[in-house]
Amino acid sequence: MQSKPIALTILDIVSIIVLGIASYLALVFAPTEAVMGDVQRVFYFHIGTAWVGLVGFVLAAVSGIAYLITKDMRWDRFEVAAVEVSTMFFFITIVLGSIWARPAWNTWWTWDPRLTTAAVTELIYIAYFMLRQGIEDPDKRARFGAVYALLGGLSAPITFMVIRLFRTIHPVVIGNQSAEAQGGFSMTPDMRTAFFFALFAFTIIFIDMMWHRIRLGGLQEKVEQLKLNVSI
């Protein structure tokens, strides 16, 4: 068996450390926001997870294209890893956002453009996994996955534009102001430190998880191959 690379172990440890520091910065170090109070602290991790979630979806679409061009299975593993890790992070973003929205907007959920787009995007990537699950042939699975990741990556921004249109013309949902204006605040330098560190920390964690998932994909493939050899 292929043993775990040392660099990956180091990255694991670094991830845990930066997560700890980011938590400290967000929960203790950053000053309490004047209007919203402590619940605003959710914001640091909310943006952090959203950032890596979006990066992952862009990476998935790009690696989908790369797979279709090169037909190299490594791109497929990369794409699955990106979608899987990002779907999880994005889900965390939505949950954290809801936790914040309850006191700030007085509701767990509104059909605001960002929220709606997030929900639709999440659904696209759940559909992505259902699609992959239904196909046995690895090549075909990779091809279809790449095509669907590409379609999803293209349609999500258009969804955002379309829904923004809906809500700005129908001012019934959350008023005329945009989402930021509803919970907007200006950051102090300490908040900015916590904010940027959270972005950095989640980027590291994202890379770590991607690495793990890609490695897992490779191992999975190996197991499948071994099983085939045994049955022959």
């Binding site: 699609l131 349609s155 258009i158 379309v162």
Partner: protein, 242 residues
């Protein structure tokens, strides 16, 4: 085209005979349409289904005159989207079932001609259904505002986008284990923009919005159509290759 012309051109260039892209596309459209007009399985199913959906909406939403003012576009588009998936599923399933798709793929034509052929015939079915459902809706609910050219234009643009991405995805979903169940799950989240932009634009037209007001959804609709036709055209090869 007669057999003789075909053979002569074949003799002249034995290896290089390829029907033009347009001809190949039209041949597939013709095949689909004539098969459908003989059996009328698909169209009748889509039509009856559409009427049932509208009937259910009638009671579920209490479509009285005030509600209709705001939801007509939404009801119509939901109906078309549902009926559309029914048609898309069926039109690809018949190709897959008896190995017709393999036959099509063996033909010496560009693969994207198959995509466009299937897309055009799917679009034709959807437009036929719409051409029957819209007047019926107008009749049942006394909604004559439906018959303005710009409203019909929006319906056409929306259908094009929906069918373009739907044809591609149905070609994928028929090759999976879950088949028909999967198509709506794959299609709806990706088609959200086209459905919403169409609802927005057609709803605006029904409520006498000015052209400037519906220009933005209309633009997005056109952008979606162009992007997704282009992408589907480019990736269709990967979806059907064996």
């Amino acid at each position: 085209m007669t057999d003789t012309t075909k053979t002569t051109s074949l003799e002249k260039q034995p290896m290089e005979y390829r029907p033009s892209f347009f001809k190949a596309t039209m041949a597939i459209v013709q095949k689909d349409l004539s098969a459908e007009f003989r059996s009328r399985e698909l169209l009748s199913a889509m039509l009856v289904f559409s009427m049932l959906v509208i009937l259910i909406f009638n009671f579920a939403l209490e479509l009285d005159i005030k509600v209709r003012q705001s939801v007509t576009a939404g009801v119509l588009w939901t109906t078309f989207a549902f009926a559309g998936t029914l048609g898309l599923n069926r039109s690809m399933a018949v190709e897959k079932d008896r190995g017709c798709m393999d036959g099509l793929l063996l033909a010496p034509v560009d693969r994207s001609a198959i995509f466009f052929g299937k897309a055009i015939s799917n679009l034709a079915f959807m437009l036929i259904v719409e051409a029957i459902v819209l007047p019926l809706y107008a009749l049942l609910y006394n909604e004559v505002r439906i018959f303005q050219p710009s409203f019909l234009g929006v319906i056409l643009l929306g259908s094009i986008g929906y069918i373009a991405v739907g044809t591609l995805l149905s070609a994928m979903s028929v090759q999976t284990r879950t088949r028909d169940v999967l198509l709506p799950i794959l299609l709806f989240p990706v088609a959200v923009p086209v459905l919403l932009a169409s609802v927005k634009a057609s709803g605006g037209l029904l409520n006498n919005a000015t052209f400037a007001e519906i220009l933005v959804p209309l633009n997005l609709l056109i952008v979606y159509d162009v992007i997704f036709i282009a992408v589907a055209f480019m990736v269709f090869d990967f979806v059907v290759e064996e």
